[in-house]
């Protein structure tokens, strides 16, 4: 009467009642008489399906998710506590532990990242330099064309002959 449907307990009870009712329906054909093995297998399969659907609904419920989270948080907290105690012992005994190795790996990773950053920067500078050199090369060519043309013009046919000779070479 007036049960709160948001209450996890009420929800679980409702889900369980529904599952039981469906499961009973699955077994109904086999009750009160002689059932063939096929009928029993079919009833079993239906029963498992009902149970499976119930599990699915249960595992999606907020109550289950909350319980799962609490369970995991609790386990991890216990583990953390245990490791913290172990760590203190390791420190006292001057033994390298996981945290030391982690710190070392993180330090190596940081150095690696710095080296990669430097390499990328150098590579970008090289690219910029290359494009500048290309531009310069083009300008030089254009300049040489203009300059060469003027020279040819001033030298007359001799200049042209000289350039063609150069091209042939």
């Amino acid at each position: 009467m007036g049960s709160d449907m948001n209450d996890p307990f009420s929800n679980m009870t409702r889900m369980w009642m529904e599952m039981t009712a469906n499961a009973m329906q699955a077994w109904q054909p086999t009750l009160g008489g002689t059932a063939s093995p096929e009928l029993v297998r079919k009833a079993r399969s239906d029963f498992l399906q009902v149970w499976s659907d119930w599990c699915e609904e249960l595992m999606r419920s907020s109550a289950f998710l909350e319980a799962q989270k609490q369970c995991m948080t609790g386990n991890l907290a216990v583990r953390k506590q245990f490791r913290s105690t172990l760590r203190k012992m390791q420190k006292e005994l001057q033994i390298a532990g996981r945290e030391d190795i982690d710190a070392l790996v993180v330090a190596v990773r940081r150095s690696e990242r710095r080296v990669l950053d430097q390499l990328q920067e150098t590579s970008e500078r090289f690219q910029a330099l290359e494009s500048k050199l290309d531009c310069l090369g083009e300008r030089m060519e254009r300049f040489m064309e203009v300059f060469g043309g003027e020279e040819d013009h001033s030298n007359g046919d001799g200049g042209k002959k000289k350039k063609r000779h150069e091209l042939r070479d």
Binding site: T34, S36, P37, R44, L48, W51, S52, C55, E56, M59, R60, L65, Q68, K69, M72, T73, L76, R79, K80, R83, R98, D102, V105, V106, R109, Q120
Partner: protein
């Protein structure tokens, strides 16, 4: 009275029949135990052509006659062993492609140890996978390769293709998670930020343990896994072929491996919780993965009954990429059925082979 007697006789007959069948099944038990000790792991002849840390690159020479220029690389997930793709002679995805004359390779990521817990997706995608692709290109002389990624391997192949479109000619995805916005699957729901604190988990445990993964997968269908499967084995214990397939399958399912902690953190936080890949904001190393950069032909294979990677998670992929040549094939099966199911072997893989052959 007479009909009652008949019914009684009928019941006795049925009971006797069932008792005989059970005796026959129980008599098969020693054979099942022997079979369980000789489960095969990979059937197509292969050779290791490249190794890096725990990674091994397997090459399938086939009969030596290649009919297609572009080599094919299978990219498997980090959570299980890759031999599911080549598990039995008549259920091998790899064999379909080898027989069709593809220069076929498969990446076995190996088993991550505690020392690998700092490896990130950047290490896997811009490191190992890039090196594998470089090696395959060097060996084959081809400019580009085709990638076939399964599950998490599909997600990684997608990221690689988006970051290096110049190296990938074709991309095939099998049940690959791309758009993680859906809460249809239980894994999606459980890994939601309000239900799972991945930072504390990884900080505390380092790698994501294989047992944790295995129990999570088991919990996706507890009744089927804990009751349905043993019952079906008991009922068909005298069927040699069924038992062989059952044991091979179960051996693979129970052969989980740990995921490097930082990869697990990347995957859960950036994909399951923040869905950055579908939003084109996923960062791998120094670069952001933009799915619109994928312009190569794409084949997306989905399993409509997949509980691990629901279709809603992989179907949107073709809408997010820049490719014009894209195709989706759906099959009414589960996550594993897509690789080794009879329907997949009969209908799906011949289609996938033909699709790739046209483009290689």
């Amino acid at each position: 009275m007479f009909s009652g007697g008949n019914a009684w006789l009928e019941t006795q007959k049925t009971l006797m029949g069932e008792w005989m069948a059970n005796t026959r099944r129980m008599a098969s038990l020693p054979r099942v135990v022997v079979q369980a000790q000789h489960v095969k792991k990979g059937v197509t002849p292969s050779e290791i052509v490249y190794e890096e840390d725990h990674l091994k690159l397997l090459h399938y020479p086939g009969n030596g006659q290649l009919k297609h220029e572009t080599p094919l690389v299978f990219v498997f997930a980090l959570v299980n062993r890759p031999y599911i793709l080549d598990i039995l002679p008549d259920k091998s995805v790899v064999a379909h492609f080898v027989k069709a004359g593809f220069d076929t390779y498969l990446i076995d990521w190996g088993t991550a140890t505690d020392a690998d817990r700092h490896l990130t997706l950047d290490d896997y995608i811009n490191g190992y996978l890039r090196n594998v692709v470089r090696e395959v290109r060097r060996r084959s002389g081809a400019e580009k390769v085709s990638l076939l990624g399964y599950c998490m391997g599909g997600t990684m192949s997608t990221m690689f293709t988006a970051l290096n479109p110049e190296y990938v000619k074709n991309l095939i995805l099998m049940a690959a998670g791309i758009d993680f916005a859906t809460r249809e699957g239980l894994i999606n729901l459980w890994s939601d930020a309000k239900n799972f604190d991945v930072d504390t988990f990884v900080d505390e445990l380092g790698n994501c343990p294989a047992d944790f993964l295995q129990s999570s997968f088991l919990m996706l269908s507890p009744v089927r896994n804990l009751l349905g499967k043993p019952l079906s084995l008991m009922e068909r214990m005298d069927d040699v072929k069924f038992v062989e397939e059952f044991l091979t399958m179960e051996s693979w399912i129970n052969d989980n491996v740990a995921i490097p902690g930082e990869v697990f953190r990347d995957f859960v936080k950036h994909l399951y919780q923040q869905n950055l890949l579908a939003k084109n904001r996923m960062q791998v190393g120094r670069r952001v993965v933009d799915l619109r950069r994928i312009t190569c032909p794409v084949l997306n294979l989905l399993a409509t009954q997949d509980t691990l990677v629901p279709p809603a998670q992989s179907a949107p992929f073709t809408d997010l990429i820049g490719s014009e040549d894209k195709k989706t094939i759906e099959l009414a099966t589960g996550h594993i059925g897509l690789a080794m199911g009879s329907a997949a072997q009969r209908e799906l893989w011949p289609q996938a082979v033909a699709w790739l052959a046209e483009r290689s």
